[in-house]
Amino acid sequence: MQLVTNDHVSKPSSARRLKKIGQYAFLIVLMLIVVSPFLLGFWTSFLPTSQISKGALWGKLSLANYWAAFTTTPILRYLFNSIVIASLTTVAQVVFCSMSAYAFVFLKFKGRKFLFYAFLATMMLPFEAEVIPNFMTVKSMGLLNHFAVMVVPFMATAFGTFMLRQSFLQIPKELKEAADIEGLNHWQFYYRITLPYSRISIVTLAAYSFLTSWNQYLWPMLTTFSDNFRPVQDGLRQLQSSETFNNWGMIQASACIVVIPTLIVLFIGQHYFKAGLNEGSVK
């Protein structure tokens, strides 16, 4: 009975069916290319290291590697550190970038144009080329090896300002005029109208800054030296280069522990992300 309805839906001639098989085959090949490193990582994270080091990709599956990662390595502490660092950075960026974007869109002041171009210009300067003086700055501020060193330099970005500015520009002029007449001051208009109106862009910026902070690698490597403050990227590097190097099962399990939260965030936030990416500066 079920088959009948299926036939009714597609009614394929054999050529069309062949074409469909071809389409799916191609999709599956591409998908395997993309996900095979994940699959390999996930699969081996359940295998005993003794098997993996023999070159075998089979064996008794268990959660032993995960248990070992949780109990013998500071991986959970690294995760916690990263969550703290990335959350603080995200909140700060959303607040400061939206405020500066507001200033560029709704406030008239001397030097606005000049400042805007100065902001734009900073987008040309790679952070990687500025680590030397920045390292000296945070060192002299006494921030080394602390959460603050991972948060303070990234609390505001020109990119975030630019992105939100693009979004604030879409707010209808009539809304601002009406608010002026109503007697809303800039704080009220910023807080009650601008932020809710541009929430998709705000969420996009939040996701973007969270992921960027989470993915920081060079900076934490230079500025954090203890497990109490080390974020996951540097933590995994530490695990991989330490004596556990040949314990492949546990290393893969640690990598999976780190990647699963971001994958979940990505899959849930994808809908927003796509909308934001396509409405923002990228088109």
Binding site: F38, G41, S100, K110, R112, M124, Y217
Partner: protein, 310 residues
């Protein structure tokens, strides 16, 4: 509440008065709204850039303090050093290979995912998955894949009775390994952007092409790619700029080796400044990197300028 307001415009206070009143306070607000961001950018972007430039004209001691002014001689010795030039060459090869491969594969993924098939959403989600992978995780996955004794590549070669390549200890293959890993990491983001562009190509174009009897492959090159050429160019430049800044995968997979084959520009800055303590040389290399990246960013801005209203 706000909707009924426009009606009041006519009988409200003269709008000139209002404007004048707000003009007075705008500068005050600007200080509050812009102040924090401005201070942060000055401290962590403008100042370090100038300081880097300054340091590149000096010699420095182990603590990064400037000692003697040497003018442009840091620059001269850098661009005449064969080791730096080979780093620069390797970086250019890397950057070009990564951006071209990323865009080609990104187009392949996006075009394939742009068909109306059952379950296509699952494929779309999976295609974007590498966007959720951070550097160190990618490095671990690929270190395992390229491992000469337990890795899949080695096992495949063994099974096929081919010589086993020790991917990460041979200069040429190490570069290939880094390129593959980087392209893989880029795919998710690139896919999402190109896919977004594809969806905005009018369907009528394809219908017309179908009627005229143009094959799907020809449609790809004559309709799809020209229609999204702007996006492709944008993705290419973004990928290029990001590739110039590559650091994490290199640090975990090759540490710039073997034989400096993967000692790309940013890794070199790190080594010269923070491992060898030569901050002046690190600063000089930073300035050269900035110039390179600034050029590509300007190209990108020029492109954006056409599509974004100011």
């Amino acid at each position: 509440m706000l909707q009924r307001l426009p009606k009041q415009v006519d009988n409200s206070l003269p709008s000139l008065n209002l404007a004048a009143k707000y003009k007075l306070t705008d500068s005050g607000y600007a200080i509050v709204f812009l102040g924090p961001t401005l201070m942060l950018l000055v401290a962590f972007v403008f100042y370090p850039m100038l300081k880097t430039l300054y340091m590149s004209f000096f010699l420095t001691n182990d603590f990064g303090k400037t000692t003697a002014f040497v003018g442009l001689s840091n620059y001269v010795s850098l661009i005449t050093s064969s080791s730096y030039l080979s780093s620069l060459g390797a970086t250019l090869v890397f950057v070009l290979a990564v951006s071209i491969l990323t865009v080609v594969l990104g187009v392949a993924l996006a075009v394939t995912a742009n068909q109306e098939l059952k379950g296509i959403r699952l494929f779309r989600t999976l295609f974007s998955a590498t966007m959720g992978v951070s550097v160190s995780v990618a490095a671990i996955f690929w270190l395992f894949a390229f491992n000469p004794s337990v890795g899949v590549f080695a096992q495949l070669s063994q099974a096929l009775h081919l010589p086993v390549v020790n991917w990460l200890t041979d200069p040429k293959s190490a570069m290939v390994a880094i390129i593959i890993s980087t392209v893989w990491m880029n795919l998710g983001f690139t896919f999402l952007i190109i896919f977004g562009a594809l969806q905005s190509v009018p369907k009528s174009l394809y219908e017309a092409a179908d009627i005229v009897g143009i094959s799907k492959l020809t449609q790809l090159f004559k309709v799809t790619i020209p229609m999204i050429s702007g996006t492709l160019f944008f993705v290419m430049i973004v990928t290029l700029i990001e590739a110039f800044k590559s650091f994490g995968l290199i640090d975990m997979m090759t540490e710039g080796g073997p034989d400096n084959a993967t000692n790309l520009l940013v890794y070199r800055i790190y080594q010269d400044a923070f491992i060898n303590g030569n901050f002046a040389q690190g600063s000089t290399e930073s300035i050269l990197l900035t110039i390179i990246i600034a050029i590509f960013t300007l190209i990108q801005f020029k492109f954006l300028g056409k599509r974004v209203h100011y």
